[in-house]
């Protein structure tokens, strides 16, 4: 009998659908987005490090580029990703061992608060120093 089955590719995108969903779903989606972002960054980072192979000149010119304010802003975004992914990962780990399951929403809130505070402090250091 016919039915409305979604094709696999469309199904696979459905983790992204946070409409009318609760906090935990947002945490999950955020974790995935930051996770994908960090994997992309890992390879970008390796590519940048490859500049070292081309000797001091190309590396040093990159470093001076990296000191530009707009580049530093990218650093803040990277840090945000790391903090969100890392701290949410802590929540997933704890609940996965049956710790703090009842308080998972509060746990997420507190951890994200920590992320925001840490990010603020880091941004001050990056732009200040």
């Amino acid at each position: 009998m016919a039915n409305l089955e979604y094709p696999k590719v469309r199904r696979a995108g459905r983790w992204f659908d946070v409409r009318r969903r609760k906090l935990g779903m947002w945490a999950y989606a955020l974790n995935r987005i930051t996770g994908i972002g960090l994997v992309v960054y890992l390879y970008l980072h390796l590519a940048v490090l490859s500049l070292l192979l081309r000797g001091p000149r190309s590396w040093d010119s990159f470093v001076s580029l990296a000191r530009a304010p707009y580049f530093l802003a990218l650093d803040v975004i990277l840090l945000a990703g790391i903090l969100i992914h890392g701290l949410n990962g802590l929540r997933v780990t704890l609940t996965g061992f049956d710790v703090g399951v009842k308080a998972q929403k509060a746990l997420f809130g507190v951890l994200m608060l920590v992320a925001v505070v840490a990010l603020g402090a880091a941004a001050l250091m990056i732009f200040g120093g």
């Binding site: 696999k8 996770g35 960090l38 070292l52 192979l53 590396w59 040093d60 890392g86 802590l90 780990t93």
Partner: protein
Amino acid sequence: MENPFAQEPRASSSWLWQVITGVGLVLLLGLHFIANHFIAKGGLRDFADVVAYLRSPIILVLEVLFLVVVATHAMLGMRALLLDFGLSERAERRLSQALTAVGVLTVGYGLWLTWVIIH
């Protein structure tokens, strides 16, 4: 009746490794940051700084460990994500093999890079 959900109990491994490497990353990333920005005097400002930095044996071990752990965590994460495409068992095995290969290549490239820079 054949139970469609009965399987070999082996699935906990990937989750456990994800958690172990995740916790490892939190620690290593902290050390990575501290080493990069605080211990190296005035930060890694130019090429010579980087080379000197990597020649320190403790730093080298730390960075290599970091590379291995981050690659494992990333590949396990990608696996969890790609499983969502509803793969067949064969495709799932292929995926695991492919991701292992990518992870090994990543680590290999990183090691080679480090070796070249040091020398």
